[in-house]
Amino acid sequence: MSTETIAPREYQIYSGDDLRTNVLEISMGPQHPSTHGVFRMDVSLDGETVVKLKPVFGYLHRNHEKIAETTSYLGSMPYTDRLDYFCSMTNNWAYALAVEKMAGLAVPERAEYIRVIMAELTRLQNHASLVGFLTNDLGASGTPLLYAIREREHILDLFEWASGARMMCNYMRFGGVRNDLPSGWLAQCKKVVDDFPAFMDEFETLLTGNEIILSRCQNVGVLPRDLAINASITGPCLRASGVDYDLRKVDKYGIYDRFDFKVPLGSVGDCYDRFMIRLLEMRESVKILKQALATIPEGPVNDSKARNFRPKPAEAYGRIEGPKGELGFYLVSDGTPKPHRYHVRPPSFINLTVLEDMCLGQKIADAVIVLGSIDIVLGEVDR
């Protein structure tokens, strides 16, 4: 690696004496069909080619961190649902993990299994819908997305059954989960997980070989390995660039060391790799789910002491491998029931750092799919 940071590339506009063109500045968003929420890109175009791109966000900013600092530790849990509203289960887990790390709470065995099951189900539905949204950005009129949403409904039904809500689950608690799984839940979950590979096959037949997707995604929005590391990219985007860094393997948080799964790696780091890595990760998640469902023990699901506790002055940084990347919570306690500092490290926020680098010199249509392949959720970017 070089000694200095990898600076953004510059795009040179041809400016011969005989040819003079003007740069077209377009403000894509916040109301635009494909900016995944209220996200804005200030794009400068040379014809159709992107010469400058600045991401602008904050339209959904509600100062989540400040709210958390004025409420109790438990009171922030439902707010974490609303960070990345696609993956409330993993958000809950990341926060619970940070608090457990800070306060030294233990999690019962069954609760750990439930957490793994919920997190992997979340990963399945997030990746499936992301691939759907990506194809929407590519211009498919919603067909793959609706197939993904069809499958996602089954997973959301499971979430609702366990937690009472489909998206804002608010299910994990410090030292466990809120309530035990209802009877019959595990059997239904097994059925959903067993049905999932059939959907994956259909999905892959529909998408992976399609010549238009191949030509649109391959060698577009390349994120080099060194830049990916230097810019703190995490999650599938990082692994698509060929870096073997999956927190489930590195940190082995929870009980991930008990499961047998593999980490798929890309080689080029383009949109197609990011897209394929997600499809492959879904297959691995199905594997984890099958193992977890087969071995889940009986027992308590939460630590009754963990309610309404008052942590000692301490600080902790807890992180998990969310579907979008490393989701971390940095907590500082000063001994009061409210956190002194509560900071979220949102993966989609930091993954946007390299958006400009990936889009420069590409067409405007590519900028849209590069953004789609990063997988951002504005609830998390803006907080």
Binding site: P33, S267, A365
Partner: protein, 417 residues
């Protein structure tokens, strides 16, 4: 009194009506014009309404949805509801737009869309304008739509619209070439630009004249151009190019919603938008009608003589039924494609036209020439057919491979140890 011929009923009725005006030739001409244009203006918007309903229902089913089902049984009144909604919407014109061009664009798009319908033979003796150079007229008038789209894009004073307009020009001009060249093969074989002659050429008249009902029926089908190697390749090229010409998915770049919002349509609303929308569908019908005429035998179809008639030209099922059936079948394929495929990128689009379709279309002309002169055995093209097919297949493979290049390929993924 000739026996009733269901096929020619409408034509006969028209002639009967006009016979009253024999003494007023000027009025007769005017009435004749009205009688051939009014049905076009009445029928095709109806077809447009049915197609929007079909598209919404079909896409919905492809996507595992139900589709519109609240307006009437099966949502059949949805087009009417859409229409009412569209007409009641406020007509918004951007302040800085070029008002005249902004107003004219939908009109300029609509007029040629309807005009080109007039050279399509819907049935025997049923062609609104029997022009000797029908195909030329079709292409010439059809390309006016490029101008309309650019007018819309430029006059809106919206950057997305401008990009859409520029894309539209590049795309339509490029795809005109393979479109025309694949049609040229048919013109070459027929030796005429007259659409009625092109249809007649696709009918095996000896078989139809014979007394065997099976042969009569088969003779209406077997001669379609699409069953020859050059016709098949030409049909595919023509169909793909026509998708681009009418901005249908996967070539809907001028109105690519995920990239440039709605392209040239971004600043249109209300009635003007409805006109745009309808014109696009009418041009889709027109171009599908032309590809039906050129390659799918026009109005001819599996048809037999009515039992009461000895006239070799009398047919039980009117020809325009077959014509519309084929046209709608092509529309359904377009809907199916729309439900499946993502959009191309602008440079791929150009590459596809110039580096893939154009060479193939030129190759197809040579194959057509070879087929024409290749020796036949009892009129059956024993040499021309297989060799023509082989050449077209090989050139498809080769040009396809040359275009794909080493860059895009299925990849093998590895797992971290």
């Amino acid at each position: 009194m000739t026996p009733i011929n269901p096929d020619q009923l409408i034509v006969q009725l028209t002639q009967w009506a006009l016979s009253f005006l024999d003494s007023y030739p000027l009025v007769a001409v005017l009435v004749a014009i009205l009688l051939s244009t009014v049905p076009l203006i009445a029928v095709f918007p109806g077809c447009f309404a049915i197609t929007t309903w079909l598209e919404r229902k079909g896409l919905a089913r492809i996507q595992n949805r139900i589709g519109p089902n609240r307006t009437g049984p099966l949502g059949i009144l949805q087009p009417a509801a859409d229409g009412i909604k569209m007409l009641l919407k406020e007509d918004i014109v951007p302040k800085t737009s070029d008002r005249l061009a902004h107003f004219l664009a939908p009109v300029v798009l609509m007029v040629p869309a309807f005009t080109i319908l007039s050279v399509l033979p819907f049935n025997r003796n049923m062609i609104p304008a029997a022009v000797d150079t029908g195909v030329i007229l079709f292409f010439a008038l059809g390309s006016v739509s490029t101008l309309a789209v650019f007018m819309a894009g430029w006059s809106s004073r919206n950057k997305y619209s401008l990009l859409g307009g520029m894309r539209a020009i590049a795309q339509m001009v490029s795809y005109e070439l393979p479109l025309v060249l694949s049609g040229v093969t048919v013109i070459m074989m027929t030796g005429s630009l007259d659409t009625t002659k092109i249809v007649a050429q696709q009918q095996l008249s000896e078989w139809i004249q014979s007394s065997n009902a099976g042969l009569q029926c088969l003779g209406q089908i077997i001669g379609w151009n699409v069953f020859t190697p050059w016709g098949f390749a030409g049909f595919l090229i023509f169909f793909v190019a026509s998708l681009a010409e009418i901005n249908r998915c996967p070539f809907d770049l001028p109105e690519a919603d995920s990239e440039i919002v709605a392209g040239h349509l971004t600043e249109y609303s209300g009635f003007k938008y409805a006109l745009f929308f309808m014109s696009e569908y009418v041009s889709a019908f027109a171009i599908n009608g032309l590809s039906t005429t050129l390659f799918l035998g026009g109005w001819s179809g599996p048809n037999i003589r009515p039992p009461w008639s000895d006239d070799p030209n009398a047919l039980l099922i009117p020809g325009f039924v077959w014509f519309f059936a084929k046209m709608f079948a092509l529309m359904l394929v377009m809907i199916w494609i729309r439900g499946t495929l993502p959009r191309l990128r602008v440079d791929h689009l150009m590459g596809f036209a110039w580096k893939f379709l154009l060479p193939l279309a030129i190759m197809n002309i040579f194959v057509g020439g070879f087929y024409y002169y290749a020796p036949r055995w009892h009129g059956i093209p024993v040499v021309g057919w297989p060799i023509g097919f082989l050449v077209m297949y090989l050139s498809y493979e080769c040009i396809g491979r040359l275009n794909r290049g080493p860059k895009t390929a299925q990849r093998v993924y590895h797992y971290a140890s």
